[in-house]
Structures are given as structure tokens and as C-alpha cells.
């Protein structure tokens, strides 16, 4: 054992005993601490500028073009002529009514379908819930066009079901097609919200009501439904927003039924009327912003009726309930499977629906120069993934663990991308950056920036939520031991956020591979993206190749998800170990 004297020496920093041979004390570097003071403000300003430049500037370009004569800013130039023209031209005005009709219809259908689906997951004891939960998330891995492609193959003019099995004249093009495809597209987004809501509402409340004599119907209408009120509204708002801003499905299956999104594209790309395109963008912004603000307001007000930490067991359901819900969920999952199966099989079939021999010819993509679009998409998505995950982690760290100036401002800027439809952003980008000194214009880099910004909100929210799980004392411990911001971030915060970082990476990657609206304006003769090529192929009549391209994207996303699973398991092993006796 150590003697008291030895310990006193041990504790004396400046001992120059022969044992240690050092005379200089070790101190935390003063210069490092000086520089440290500037790191957080610098990064904050950088993030703020980035968001302002790549989000506000494009937005202002659109505002300028629609509200000001000739796009020149100035009080004298303020005009509503563009809007007047829009509202007086019946063809373009119809796009507004069409959009609203389609979005409202989709919203109602999706909310009802998903509510009962989520109810089945959280309130019944039916079998295969994990399976159903996974399948309903499937539409996320494909561009919002896979539904339209499948529906055309099944219910189009030469549709397998309409023309060949039922031999009827009807086809699904038009409003019906849009609604059905959007419903199938929005299912996972609405499900996530409603599943979380219904899970959070304590099932014991239902039991308490029952014990007081309420019939199942009363329990449902008086307890379950009202408590899920906010979730329902939130899911509805989100669905509305997704539908009204979607471009992929309407452009393929809408035919002559124009909606705001397709109208913007038509004005800009076919008619070169940028000013009208900008005007319609503003009109699209209105309902979209309203839905977003409603959602934002609701999520602030959400109260959770959770009591206690343990998840209560669901009481066993009656057989009839189990069976009916199983059938119900099976129907929905069948529809989703059908969509994917049709597109995938359709890509391998020589001539759908006539010649069923299998072939790979659709995968050679002769009309678009082979696989170059896919490779571009992949490496763009990889960069988007890394940049997006890293930037949102840094931004989240700055926001959460420190108190920078402009915190509210940065937060507001970070939340805005979710309010702006991708199509509008894309248009804004070509209006704002179509100048020779913006060297990234016309290159894949503008696409990278665009996708990162458009999906910034969810990324930063996920980062913040993950960072909140880290014990704040850990950062203080590092500081008390002499750690500065950079070292604390890279040695401690970043390793601890590994899982969230990788999840964010996959999210950005997935969004990049499947996004259409944001980038439709940014592809060019030299820069091709796989998701956009689907539309081009379909437009040119190479429908089977369009399916093939779609399948390629799906496969790539699945591979990335698979890698995430493996990486997850590996890092999970680290933190296991037996807890021994004291």
C-alpha cells in the first residue's frame, strides 16, 4: 500500500523527484482555448449563411419573378398581372381545382385507411404485425412514380386487368389514377404518425372506460378517436402536402388532368414561361404552407396520455376482430406488393401484357446511354448522404448543446425547407443560380446542394433528438477535464452519435435516390439522374425500361438498407458485457 508521503508527492504537480524527471507542469493550451471561443459562432454563421444562400435566395428569385415586372425588383415594377393572367386562363386555373380535389380526396382516403391499419397494429393481437409494419413502409424505397407505372401496367389502356382480364374499356388515367397512386405513395408517411400517436395513447384508458361500463363502440368514439385527434390532423396535413406537391405520379398517369405541379413543369420546360411557372409556384406554396403550419402548430400542442414506463399488454382480441383486421391489413399490403411486383416483373417481361417471355433487354437502356444515369445517381446520393448527415449533425450539435446567438433564427431557417415544395425549390435554383459566376450550376453539385437543403429539416430534427439522449454531463465532464469544442465533438459526441449519423446517412441517400420533384429542373443534357430518366423513358414510350430503371433504384436502396442493418448489429455488440459484482 502507498504511504501517505508518497501520495502527497503523487499529488504535487511540480515535484521534480528523480522518479518522474519532469519539472514543467502540464497545462491546457491557452491558445487552443482562445481559438475555441470562435468555433461555435463561426460554424453557426456558416450554417446560417448556407441556409440563407441556398434556400432564401432561390425563394426570393421566385417571388421576384412572379410579383415584379420582368423580374426586376422595384416598387414601380410590382405587379399582379401574372396572377391575374393565371386566374383568368381557365386551363391553368383548372390545375388549381384539380390539385385541391385530388389532394383532399387522397387525404381523406389515406387517413381513414391508415388509421385502421395503425389501430390494428396497436390495439389488436393479430398475428404478423411486424410483417405488416414493414410492408407498409415499402413505398419509401422507390420514387413516387412506381405506383403510377404499376397502375398503368394493370389498369391502363393495355392494362393486364382492365383490357385483358375484364376486357372493359375503362382505364385509370386521369384523376382516378392520380388519387390511387398518391394514396399508395402516402401510406407510409401517414402510418408513421398515426402509429406513434396510437402507441402513445395509453391502452389502459380504454380499459378504464370499459370497466366503467362503456361499450366498445363508445370506447372507440369517446376515448380512442379523440385522443388520437392531433395525430389524425397531423397525418392529414402531411398527406395533403405530399400529394399537392408531388410531380412524379401525376405526370405519368395524369394524362390531360393537369395539376399545379405538372403545370409548373409544363410552363417552364415546354413553354419557357418562367414567370408563369414562378406564379404557379407561389399559388402552390399557399396550400402547402398552410398544411405545413397546421402540422407545426399541432405538433406543438400534442399532449401524450402516457402513464408509467412499461408498455401495457394489449388484451387478447376476439377472433372475429382478429380475422377481420387481418383480412383488412392483408388487402392493403397486397396492394402495395402488387405495385412493386408489377413494376419488377414488368421490367423482365418482353412485351407486357402480351409476350410473357423473360428478358433482360429492357435493362440495357440504349436510348439513354446505358447505366450512366444510375452511376451519377449513386455517387450523388453517396455525397448527399455524407454531407447531409454530417451537416445536420453539426447543426444539431450547435443548436442543442450550446447556446449560440441566433439560435432561434437558425432553427427557423432549418425548419423552412420542409415547408417548401421540392418543385418550387428546384425552379428557384435555376432562376437564382443561372449565372456564369455560379460555377456549380449545370453540374451535379447543384443537385447535391439542392437535395441536402430540401431534406435538411428532418435530418436536423433527428440529430437534435438523438443528441438529447446523450447525458449533458458528459460534455461538461469533457470541458472540466480541459476538452475544447472540437475535441469534445470528434472524440465523444460523434462516436456516440454513430448510429444516428448512419441512419441519417441512409435517409439522405434514400431521399436522393428517389426524389423527383426537387431535381426535375436541375438535370441537364450532361447530368442525368436515374429517377428522372424513368419519366423520360416513359415519355418516350420505353415503359418497360422505365420499370427497369425503377427496379434498379429499388435494388440500390435495399442494398443500402441492408448495409445499415449489418452495421447496426456490429455496433450493437460493442455495448454488451456482463455486469460483475462491485
Amino acid at each position: 500500500m502507498y504511504t501517505r508521503r508518497y501520495l502527497k508527492n503523487l499529488f504535487n504537480m511540480n515535484t521534480s523527484s528523480p522518479a518522474d524527471g519532469i519539472t514543467t507542469p502540464y497545462q491546457v493550451s491557452a491558445t487552443r482555448m482562445e481559438i475555441d471561443k470562435f468555433i461555435v459562432p463561426t460554424v453557426t454563421i456558416f450554417i446560417g449563411l448556407m441556409l440563407c444562400f441556398f434556400m432564401l435566395l432561390p425563394l426570393s428569385a421566385i417571388l421576384k419573378l412572379s410579383f415584379f415586372e420582368g423580374g426586376q425588383f422595384g416598387l414601380a415594377n410590382f405587379t399582379l398581372a401574372n396572377f391575374q393572367k393565371y386566374f383568368t386562363t381557365s386551363y391553368t386555373l383548372n390545375a388549381l381545382w384539380h390539385s385541391l380535389y385530388v389532394s383532399v380526396a387522397t387525404t381523406i382516403i389515406v387517413t381513414v385507411i391508415v388509421f385502421f391499419f395503425a389501430y390494428a397494429m396497436t390495439r389488436t393481437t393479430m398475428a404478423g404485425k411486424t410483417f405488416f409494419r414493414n410492408v407498409i413502409m415499402m413505398p419509401l424505397i422507390a420514387p413516387s412514380i412506381v405506383q403510377a407505372l404499376a397502375l398503368i401496367y394493370l389498369f391502363g389502356r393495355n392494362g393486364l386487368i382492365t383490357a385483358h382480364l375484364l376486357k372493359i374499356d375503362w382505364n385509370i388515367y386521369g384523376a382516378t389514377g392520380i388519387i390511387v397512386s398518391e394514396v399508395l405513395y402516402c401510406l407510409p408517411h401517414a402510418f408513421v404518425i398515426l402509429f406513434t400517436t396510437l402507441s402513445a395513447v395509453d391502452i389502459r384508458l380504454d380499459e378504464a372506460a370499459e370497466s366503467l361500463g362503456a361499450t366498445p363502440f363508445k370506447v372507440f368514439t369517446r376515448i380512442t378517436l379523440p385522443s388520437a385527434k392531433y395525430g389524425i390532423f397531423s397525418a392529414a396535413a402531411l398527406t395533403f402536402n405530399l400529394t399537392i406537391t408531388d410531380f412524379g405520379n401525376p405526370t405519368v398517369i395524369g394524362a390531360n388532368y393537369n395539376v399545379l405541379a405538372t403545370e409548373i413543369y409544363a410552363q417552364v420546360t415546354n413553354l419557357y414561361r418562367f414567370d408563369l411557372g414562378a406564379t404557379i409556384s407561389i399559388i402552390l406554396l399557399v396550400p402547402s404552407l398552410m398544411a405545413f403550419m397546421l402540422n407545426y402548430y399541432i405538433s406543438r400542442k400534442t399532449f401524450s396520455m402516457i402513464s408509467g414506463a412499461a408498455k401495457p399488454v394489449i388484451p387478447p382480441s376476439r377472433p372475429l376482430k382478429k380475422i377481420s383486421y387481418t383480412i383488412y391489413c392483408s388487402l392493403i399490403t397486397f396492394a402495395i406488393f402488387l405495385v412493386f411486383a408489377t413494376v419488377i416483373i414488368g421490367s423482365f417481361v418482353k412485351i407486357w401484357p402480351y409476350d410473357w417471355s423473360l428478358t433482360l433487354e429492357h435493362y440495357s437502356f440504349p436510348s439513354i446511354g446505358g447505366y450512366s444515369a444510375i452511376w451519377t445517381s449513386v455517387w450523388v446520393s453517396l455525397i448527399v448522404g455524407i454531407a447531409g448527415a454530417f451537416l445536420t449533425l453539426v447543426a444539431g450539435y450547435i443548436m442543442e448543446t450550446r447556446r449560440p446567438f441566433f439560435k432561434q433564427g437558425i432553427y427557423l431557417l432549418s425548419v423552412m425547407p420542409a415547408a417548401i415544395p421540392g418543385l418550387v425549390m428546384g425552379l428557384g435554383y435555376i432562376l437564382a443560380f443561372n449565372k456564369p459566376y455560379y460555377i456549380f450550376y449545370g453540374t451535379p453539385w447543384i443537385i447535391v446542394i439542392n437535395i441536402v437543403i430540401c431534406n435538411f429539416t428532418l435530418g436536423i430534427l433527428a440529430s437534435i433528438s438523438n443528441l438529447r439522449n446523450i447525458d449533458p454531463s458528459i460534455e461538461e465532464a469533457s470541458i472540466s477535464l480541459g476538452g475544447d469544442t472540437l475535441r469534445t465533438f470528434f472524440k465523444i459526441i460523434f462516436p456516440l452519435s454513430r448510429v444516428a449519423f448512419f441512419q441519417n446517412f441512409v435517409y439522405f441517400f434514400m431521399r436522393s435516390m428517389t426524389t423527383i420533384s426537387a431535381v426535375i429542373f436541375l438535370v441537364s443534357a450532361t447530368v442525368h439522374l436515374a429517377a428522372i430518366e424513368i419519366i423520360m423513358l416513359d415519355n418516350d414510350g420505353w415503359t418497360a425500361s422505365a420499370n427497369a430503371m425503377c427496379t434498379c433504384i429499388i435494388v440500390i436502396v435495399l442494398v443500402m438498407l441492408g448495409i445499415l442493418q449489418i452495421a447496426d448489429k456490429k455496433t450493437g455488440k460493442r455495448s454488451q458485457g456482463m455486469i460483475p459484482e462491485t
Binding site: 502527497k8 497545462q27 491546457v28 493550451s29 447525458d471 454531463s473 461538461e476 469533457s478 476538452g483 465523444i492
Partner: protein, 365 residues
């Protein structure tokens, strides 16, 4: 001893969060090598005060002076104070070795010296065999010892501990208490320990600082705090006390139908008087004692309402003038008297056992 050598001085420290006063008028001088406890109920400001000392909170007013230098504006990294957190705050992605070495690495100590120091520290806290393990593989008590080691590795001028044992089981708490006390004595480091557990404070501290509502109520050795609580709150918070509300009358205290003789009642000027007496200081009247042992006015016969066997002592609850009170009788003595519920008990209230107060604290619900 020079007045400024390595002393930590808090001068009129106060901290406001908007209109909320967290700390007010704190003056304290801590000598080097002292073990000081900040003790108080939740929300009394002790943690805020600790955080002000560490530099994570900036005080609204007042100065912190160490070794003669005002350190108000010195950032936490440069204060060289070691901190042990309630949640241990070990870095989960680093091994025990890396955790303990962290502060040394930040000071750019050469690797071989770091190795030496880390193994010495781990020997000191008894975790030498766990060097390569991760915090998640250790029990709570072991994790806290690593946190301790990590804090002392940098040879801090002052070691600050924020309720380090509150997350642990009772038995481990007692064991670690001993480890901490021994460590402090052997290393001679100034230690500031925040706790709401009065047993801990009394067991560990050279001096205890009792805080309430952001203010210091009393500073003294554990013995002083216990034997001479300055306010009625302290009499109640530290240990247990029975309270009597009475009026001054003819040099005695009138309490209901009783007139008790109490020493030191002239210390208070008001007519209304509050007395506190500890259960262990109420004596059981020994019939065999010589006459004159007990002052007749202070001998009272009571009825035992509840008898609680607490191991070393038996706590008997009785009602006096509609007030519920306790008396603690050593277990061996209790054996002999064979007291049952509703049985009669003669008690003596020694006049000098009372603590006298002119104000009574507001009871915390």
C-alpha cells in the same frame, strides 16, 4: 498560514434566473485540504452554487477568488477543478484507461507518463484489473470510482462532487463513502461535496454548509450543526426534532397546560417561543434515581401511541398537548421496561436539551 494561499473564497455570490433567485449572498472561505459539504433540500441552490464554482454557470454578482486571484472569467477548462457528476458522465465510447487518461491527454502529457499516472490512479481506486473495460461493463459503484479517478488524475486544485452517490444502493453508498473519505485524507485535496443526504454530510465533512432557499443558514462542523442548530429548519432537517410552540411566562415556557423550564429562553425577545428537542435527549425517568435529579415541572407522564422498533433504538410516539412527539429509547433499556401500546411512560425533558427559536420554519409538504 497566509490568508490567500490556495484558499477558495466566495464573496457575496448571488445568482438570478430572471426573477427566480437561486443563490443569494453566499460568503464562504474554504481552506486548502478541507472537506466541505453543501447540504440542503432540493432546490436550495447547492448545485447551482457548485456549478458557479466550476464555471458552468456565471454568477449574477459576487466574486470567486482562488489563491488570491479572481477567477470569475476563467473558463471551466482552465480552472483545473476536478468534477465528479451524479450520473458519473463517463465517456461510454472509451475504456476505463481512456477515460482516466482524458484530462492528461488534453494537457499533452507524454504517453509513458500518462500510462504511469493512470495505473497509479486505478490502483488507488481499486480498479487496476478493469483498465480495458468499457463503462457499460462496470457496476454503478465501479463507474463512480472511475469517475473519481478521472477527476483526480489531473491533480485538480479543488475536487467538486455533485451528489455522486445518490444513484447507488444504500450499502454501496456507505462503502464508497469510506473510499472517498480515505482518498481525500490521503491526497489532502480540497473537496466540496454536494448532497441532500444529511447522514452522508455528517459522516464525511470537516465542515457542513447548510443551505436553504439559496442562502447559507449555518456553517459548522457536523458536531456543531447537530448539537447547536441555528434555525428551527436545521433542527428539523438534520436528525429529528420534536417541536413545541409556547409562550414565555414567568421565566418558563407555557405549553398548553404545562409550564416547562427551559434554559436560554432569554436569547429570544418575542413572546411566542418555539422549542425543539431531539427524541434521544428526552430521558426516561428512572424511579430509582435520587430526589432532585429531575426538575418536577419537566417530568411528564405520557401514553405510548405507537412503538417502532428501529434496531438499535426504539422510537415511541406519544401525544403531548395534542402534539405528536417521539422519544428514542435505547433498545437494551426498552427491553427492561416492557412497554406496550397505550402503556404509561414517565419522561423527563431536561431544560438544557431544548433549542430555542423565535421563528418556526414552514413545513415542506
Amino acid at each position: 498560514m497566509e490568508t490567500s494561499s490556495k484558499q477558495l473564497v466566495l464573496e457575496n455570490i448571488s445568482k438570478h434566473f430572471g426573477s427566480l433567485v437561486a443563490v443569494q449572498g453566499v460568503d464562504l472561505v474554504i481552506d486548502p485540504g478541507e472537506f466541505i459539504c453543501f447540504l440542503g433540500p432540493s432546490g436550495c441552490g447547492k448545485t447551482t452554487l457548485l456549478r458557479i464554482i466550476t464555471g458552468f454557470e456565471q454568477q449574477t454578482a459576487g466574486d470567486i477568488i482562488y489563491d488570491g486571484n479572481v477567477i470569475n472569467d476563467v473558463i471551466p477548462q482552465k480552472r483545473d477543478f476536478g468534477i465528479v457528476f451524479q450520473s458519473y458522465a463517463l465517456f461510454p465510447n472509451m475504456t476505463v484507461y481512456q477515460n482516466v487518461a482524458f484530462g492528461l491527454k488534453m494537457r499533452r502529457m507524454p504517453k509513458n507518463l500518462i500510462d504511469e499516472r493512470v495505473s497509479e490512479i486505478l490502483q488507488l481506486v481499486g480498479l487496476a484489473a478493469w483498465e480495458q473495460h468499457y463503462p457499460s461493463q462496470l457496476s454503478g459503484g465501479q463507474q463512480q470510482r472511475v469517475a473519481l479517478g478521472r477527476a483526480i488524475a489531473i491533480k485538480p486544485k479543488v475536487l467538486l462532487l455533485d451528489e455522486p452517490l445518490s444513484a447507488l444502493d444504500a450499502k454501496i453508498r456507505i462503502r464508497l463513502r469510506v473510499v472517498i473519505k480515505k482518498l481525500q485524507e490521503e491526497l489532502g485535496v480540497t473537496m466540496i461535496y454536494v448532497t441532500h443526504d444529511q447522514e452522508e454530510a455528517l459522516a464525511l465533512a470537516d465542515r457542513v454548509v447548510i443551505m436553504r432557499d439559496g442562502e447559507i443558514r449555518q456553517i459548522g462542523s457536523p458536531w456543531e450543526i447537530y448539537k447547536k442548530p441555528r434555525t428551527s429548519f436545521i433542527a428539523e432537517f438534520v436528525g429529528t426534532s420534536n417541536f413545541i410552540t409556547g409562550k414565555k411566562k414567568n421565566g418558563n415556557v407555557q405549553f398548553g397546560r404545562l409550564e416547562l423550564a427551559v434554559s436560554n429562553i432569554n436569547d429570544t425577545s418575542s413572546d411566542k417561543i418555539y422549542l425543539a428537542i431531539r427524541p434521544e435527549n428526552i430521558e426516561r425517568v428512572d424511579e430509582a434515581a435520587p430526589p432532585g435529579t429531575y426538575l418536577p415541572s419537566n417530568v411528564i407522564e405520557v401514553e405510548a401511541e405507537v412503538i417502532n422498533f428501529l434496531g438499535a433504538i426504539v422510537r415511541v410516539t406519544f401525544i403531548l398537548e395534542k402534539e405528536e412527539m417521539f422519544v428514542d429509547i435505547p433498545e437494551k433499556e426498552f427491553e427492561k421496561i416492557n412497554l406496550k401500546r397505550k402503556g404509561k411512560l414517565k419522561l423527563y425533558f431536561p431544560p438544557d436539551a431544548f433549542h430555542v427559536y423565535s421563528e418556526i420554519f414552514k413545513k415542506l409538504i
